[in-house]
Subunit: 268 residues, 2 copies
């Protein structure tokens, strides 16, 4: 039996990455776990985010995944290293692919990073960027209002435009030319941000993540062999509410027949 | 040894209730537990909120509390009944006191309720109000942007005024005369709401909760006997981040010397 690729996020935002993975790798089976009973990771401490991520990864390993994709910037920031060390399967995070894309995009070597409080506080993007190019000027900003605005579906409202300016105007004044959308929700704000700042290059790392995963599968000879129309998809959530069906449509562009609710046992 | 009063919330918002309790009952000892590792409860399912609330209450019972105050509207909506049944100590929630205050405040019997998605979805306020007065016209609205706006400290910004109008204009057009602030964060938005709608009566249930607790202590002869300057206060959190110090100042009006981090064992 072919094994699925495991992918997890603190909630539903990682579905934007899943959607991209399915476009790039239509033959593969995927199992997505959203830790909706403990979302958002973005406002929590590094230690708690690491603990939650390890618990979720253990659960997916028990489901027999052949590879793990961390489709959450905060979890990548705080748990990528531990997961690489501990898991017997390849692990792909969202930060390195985003960093690679940002480095290719910038012309003036002045770049921006936006994300949750916890991702920004971690300094993970800065460290990865500086490791590649110590001379880069990096400006970062936590944007905690973006996720709830997106989840309200207010992408086109004047309120959202004002919040975007509130968060980004300072780094735009610093003449950055590219910015990485360092949270899997943010690609949904792309049109609204681009409308206000048409010259800014907005990096959505999900495309780059899908490429990394495809490359890794190939190198490790883990690709799905048999050709078919479309691989299987399971979506597991640790808490299911009415609102999630709407978010699923928003982030994944489709509705899955059955959202499975699972409980993660921290003592497993 | 005198026993403390236990008080819990999903996070830091319940500190507004704690502040009021300490003003009303300066002799009492308090132990506050904020479940910051799993905040917010307001976007979760009823079942998950109930489970988390029971775990938190168990933890406080192990600390030897003489009474439990649920300083969280969402937890009151979903766990008040279970906690009343299961705990051997008196339990006070925030909904009944808020309902009593709202019923006293309204002249035209057209009232509003605002809160988290989960509180509004529960219909708890409506049910309690209708039980007292079946003829009341009740309008309710979930306001999920209010908490992150408050936690950003944006109470005076134009963005916040726009969000307030977005959420409240419809029920104001329905000519409500009073509205209950059905989330412990919301009292901090009181000045901003009052500025836009000066004629609206805004009900902050924490004053009423403190009165209920005082009455209950008296009836059950549980008051602290010995007179003193000020009772003891312990603040326990399930996750401690830098941001919490700022919220503590915002909600409690003071900084506590030591925030204790505790882990709640769901299998206790």
């Amino acid at each position: 039996m072919e094994k699925p690729i495991g992918i997890f996020d603190s909630g539903m935002g990682g579905l934007t990455v899943l959607a991209e993975l399915r476009r790039t790798l239509p033959d593969e089976d995927f199992i997505y776990l959203g830790d909706t009973a403990r979302v958002p990771y973005g406002s929590r401490s590094a230690r708690t985010v690491e603990r939650y991520s390890l618990e979720v990864a253990d659960y997916l390993m028990q489901q027999g995944v052949k590879m793990l994709v961390i489709a959450c910037n905060t979890a990548t920031a705080h748990a990528y290293k531990s997961l690489r060390q501990k898991l017997p399967v390849p692990v792909v995070g969202v930060i390195e692919p985003g960093v690679a894309a940002l480095l290719r995009a910038t012309k003036n070597r002045r770049v921006g990073i936006i994300g949750t409080r916890s991702t920004i506080r971690s300094g993970s993007y800065e460290q990865a960027l500086k490791a590649h190019d110590p001379e880069l000027s990096v400006f970062s900003k936590a944007c905690p209002l973006f996720v709830p605005l997106i989840e309200e579906g207010w992408m086109d409202k004047k309120i959202t435009a004002l919040v975007i300016e509130e968060y980004l105007s300072e780094m735009v004044r610093e003449e950055i030319d590219s910015i990485v959308l360092g949270c899997t929700h943010y690609p949904l704000l792309r049109p609204a941000i681009q409308k206000i700042y048409p010259d800014l290059q907005l990096i959505d790392s999900s495309v780059e993540v899908a490429r990394s995963v495809a490359r890794e599968l190939l190198e490790r000879k883990l690709q799905h062999i048999e050709k078919r129309e479309r691989g299987k998809l399971r979506i597991l959530l640790t808490d299911v509410t009415d609102q999630l069906r709407q978010l699923e449509q928003l982030f994944l562009g489709m509705t899955v027949e059955h959202l499975e609710e699972v409980q993660i046992d921290p003592h497993a």
